[in-house]
Amino acid sequence: MTLLTAMLRRTALGIMTLFIVSVLIFIGTSILPGDVANIILGQMATPDSLAALRAKLGLDEPAHIRYFIWLSDLLSGDLGVSKAGAGAGTVGTPISEMLIPRLANTLQLAGAVAVVAVPFAVTVGLLAAMYPGTKLDRAVTFTTLGLISVPEFLVATLLVLVVAVQLGWLPATAYISGQETGMKLVRALAMPALTLIIVASAQIMRMTRATVLNVMSSPYIEMAILKGVPRRRIILRHALFNTIGPIANVIALNLAYLVSGVVIVETIFAYPGLAKLMIDAVQTRDLPLVQACAMIFCATYVVLIFVADMVSILSNPRLRHPK
């Protein structure tokens, strides 16, 4: 298998997964009670007006037709319209208008967390693996074990208790209007970001340490020891190259979690991100909005894992240097 075929194969798999996901999301949201027409018209619905609106929105088509219409709209960038702002007989706000600022907020948060957590956690995980059994290693193992064992909401609450309530350093909620810059923005982001950094770092550290230790038990590392190679060089030159793939996977999994698993954090800190938008949309039965959000979350996951796989493929010497 050459580099190219491996990459093409992986791309095809990714596209297939996305396709299946879109079907699942469509089916999943279809079982939510009440359709859009019903919701838009609300109290003023009469059988006639319902039928008229349904025909207008294409809701009277069979499910598989509606799916393909939805999918082709999606692919052409048309996310549909939300219930929000809809009046009697009129159609509401385009979803993209609602989505973009929220998505920007979530990306801002996730980006801030990634920039801090990834280098920090990978470095600490590496150090722990470099010096197994030392105080540092034991401290890392023990702390991360504790952190991955408790729910995020506990970490968040404790942070609020200490930083916001006891010390009064930062606000307990993170309202973002979109106008903040500089220090204001940092302050607004600080609490949710800190929570996510702690949670994500714990996972990345643990997995990085395990991955490197796993490579460290291979015969070629023993050979390096027997050649008199110093420990630092063993890790940085001999082990690290072979852990790029697995570590990329660890990072991807945790970044995907940042975008999607942030529900709790966005709720606690009232942070106006995408997850919060989706929860609200579910509660108001805003189907097109739920579908759009879900699709973004799944696509993020698939893309991140895809990138990680590409990194593994590219870092595989067998594929990079074919015979």
Binding site: S218, P219, Y220, E222, M223, A224, I225, L226, K227, G228, V229, P230, R233, R237, H238, F241, N242, S315, P317, R318, H321, K323
Partner: protein, 607 residues
């Protein structure tokens, strides 16, 4: 002046679960002088690798040095600080491991790994070390020495990698080389070349060496002195000549007795005429097979091509060939695990369906398969009585007392005590597991027993015992054997007929005596000449006589056109052998050779 290496009362213990220590090396002492090659010989569990690693001041995790000293030029390497150990490793003492494929880092270039040690130790600049590496590649007869350093480990063959490991060890001009079974994983034709390269390079560099192996024949070629180990103790220690030609200890003598003599005509067990019936026990006709299935039904990767062979009732057919030649695939095809894409298999004259799913229970019962590695062929979660009882129940419906009685009888048949019935496989030694593996196949009362490399994973003595057992079973039961092995000596001592496979083709077959005496197929000749003899000086003689020169660096090609051996053949005809499939030459008495050379040429012995 002290000897280069003095191992003095070395004791090494392993940590047990209950916190205790169990000794695995018990007060071992020996010395190595400068420029001398000392062999540590012993079977698995004798502690030979553990002792060898102690010369680097290293022990595997879970082991601890508890007594004695290992002095390198008078300095105890076990008690020096870690930094001094690191400075000594690679520079003064270098290590060659058993599997080069696992010891080369897949992500770094060969050049970087070969030159790493001398550069790190400040012995040479990068450029100097690269020049030295190239010189070593040349000395080790590696191809394309100028560009080899830029390649990655997966881009070169196993035999090349093994020699590259020697280059890696020698690059820093160490005083002492530790070689840990460096040729064990190689095919015989490759082993001889690697051995020769090692020997000449060690001599040329003037390094001393500690050569760890279980193979006496290899030791005879390379060692000046021999230390015989058993269960962590030195049993015998002397000059190579004395230990090999005049061993003083019982164990050494037993070890020597278990070494099979080199293959030669007249060794085969004579056939048992009373079992011969009209139709052969099993017959393979024009079988092709491989992995992956194309649309037209043929295999994507073809492993076997047009294989024909006949196993007479009560006879043993030995199938010989090097790794990748398709011998295990042939066994899988016969058992139905891998359906043949072409050709057919006849059991007692009646055709069998290709896939085992389509075969009926009685057909399955009559052909039994003995897997290579007893370690993984026995379900670790079943007890021995369950493992042996299942075929009895499955094929013959035996239950309860009757089944228990049969299980005891089977254990007795393979010379194991009846109380083993209650044990799990992990509570048995390697040889004992292989006996259970055999007993499971015998439980089905088969007509044909397919034995796939059944002794290759075993120690010499244990393996010899299993061969004795097989010979006895054959006499008693009249079962027909298909005996697959890469070891020509084993096959020669056991088989009535020999089939030589090369790149999925039968290149020669016939009665053992005929195959092992001229005329030979060139590949058979190469194989026979490559089997090391337990005789000092054999390696030099063989290399001198130049029969075994054939291409070490060539990768065996599964070609559709021409003779697969053409690349390595000394009598090949360009334009013919590489273009057309060789015809089968019948030389009389079931002896056949697949070659473009004519019967007349073979019988005249023109080459």
């Amino acid at each position: 002046m002290p000897a280069l290496l003095e191992v003095d009362g070395l004791t090494i213990k392993a940590h047990k679960d209950n916190g205790g220590l169990v000794p695995i090396v018990k007060g071992v002492s020996f010395t190595i002088e400068r420029g001398e090659v000392v062999a540590l010989i012993g079977e698995s569990g004798s502690g030979k690798t553990t002792i060898a690693l102690s010369a680097l001041g290293y022990s595997k995790p879970g082991l601890a040095f508890t007594g004695g000293e290992v002095r390198l030029e008078g300095r105890d390497v076990l008690s020096i600080p870690p930094d001094d150990k690191r400075a000594m490793r690679g520079r003064h003492v270098a290590y060659l491991a058993q599997s080069a494929a696992a010891t080369f880092n897949p992500a770094l270039t060969i050049g970087e790994q070969v030159t790493e040690s001398p550069v790190l130790h400040g012995q040479m600049t990068r450029e100097e070390s690269q020049e030295r590496a190239k010189a070593l590649y040349r000395a080790l007869e590696l191809p394309d020495p100028d560009r080899l350093g830029r390649r990655y480990p997966h881009q070169v063959s196993g035999g090349q990698l093994q020699r590259l490991m020697a280059a890696m060890a020698l690059c820093g001009k160490p005083d002492l080389l530790i070689l840990d079974e460096p040729t064990t994983a190689l095919d015989v034709t490759t082993q001889i070349e690697v051995l020769k390269a090692f020997k000449s390079v060690i001599k040329h560099e003037g390094a001393a060496a500690l050569y760890v192996t279980h193979d006496l024949s290899v030791v005879a070629q390379i060692a000046d002195r021999i230390v015989v180990l058993y269960a962590g103790e030195v049993l015998e220690h002397g000059e190579a000549d004395q230990v090999i030609n005049n061993p003083s200890h019982d164990y050494t003598r037993r070890l020597m007795a278990a070494v099979r003599p080199p293959p030669a005509a007249g060794q085969g067990d004579t056939a048992l005429a009373d079992h011969v019936r009209e139709s052969p026990a099993i017959e393979v006709k024009g079988v092709s097979a491989g992995y992956g299935r194309q649309r037209d039904g043929s295999a994507v990767v073809k492993v076997l091509r047009d294989v024909n062979l006949v196993v007479q009732r009560g006879h043993t057919v030995g199938i010989i060939g090097e790794s990748g030649c398709g011998k295990s695939t042939l066994a899988r095809v016969m058992s139905g695990l891998l359906p043949a894409t072409e050709g057919e298999i006849l059991l007692d004259g009646a055709p069998l369906r290709p896939s085992l799913r389509q075969r009926n229970r009685s057909e399955l019962q009559r052909i039994q398969f003995v897997f290579q590695m007893a370690d993984v062929a026995l379900n670790p979660r079943q007890r021995i009585d369950g493992i042996l009882g299942r075929p009895l129940e499955f094929y013959f419906g035996l239950r309860g007392k009757e089944k228990r009685r049969r299980v005891s009888a089977l254990l007795e048949m393979v010379e194991l005590p009846a109380e083993f019935a209650g044990r799990y496989p992990e509570e048995l030694s390697g040889g004992q597991k292989q006996r259970v593996n055999l007993a499971r196949a015998l439980a089905a009362s088969p007509e044909v027993l397919l034995c796939d490399e059944v002794i290759s994973a075993l120690d010499t003595i244990v393996g010899a015992n299993i061969i004795e057992l097989l010979k006895r079973l054959r006499r008693q039961s009249g079962v027909s054997f298909v005996f697959i092995s890469h070891d020509l000596s084993t096959v020669a001592s056991f088989a009535d007929d020999i089939v030589v496979l090369y790149a999925g083709r039968v290149v020669e077959q016939g009665p053992t005596d005929r195959v092992l005496s001229p005329p030979y197929h060139p590949y058979t000749r190469l194989l026979i000449a490559s089997v090391p003899e337990l005789r000092i000086g054999w390696l030099e003689e063989t290399m001198e006589s130049r029969v075994a020169q054939a291409g070490l660096d060539r990768i065996v090609t599964m070609t559709d056109t021409g003779c697969p051996f053409f690349d390595r053949c000394s009598i090949g005809v360009k334009g013919l052998c590489d273009q057309e499939t060789p015809p089968v030459r019948h030389l009389g008495g079931r002896h056949a050779i697949e070659c473009h050379r004519s019967e007349a040429e073979f019988l005249e012995g023109t080459f």
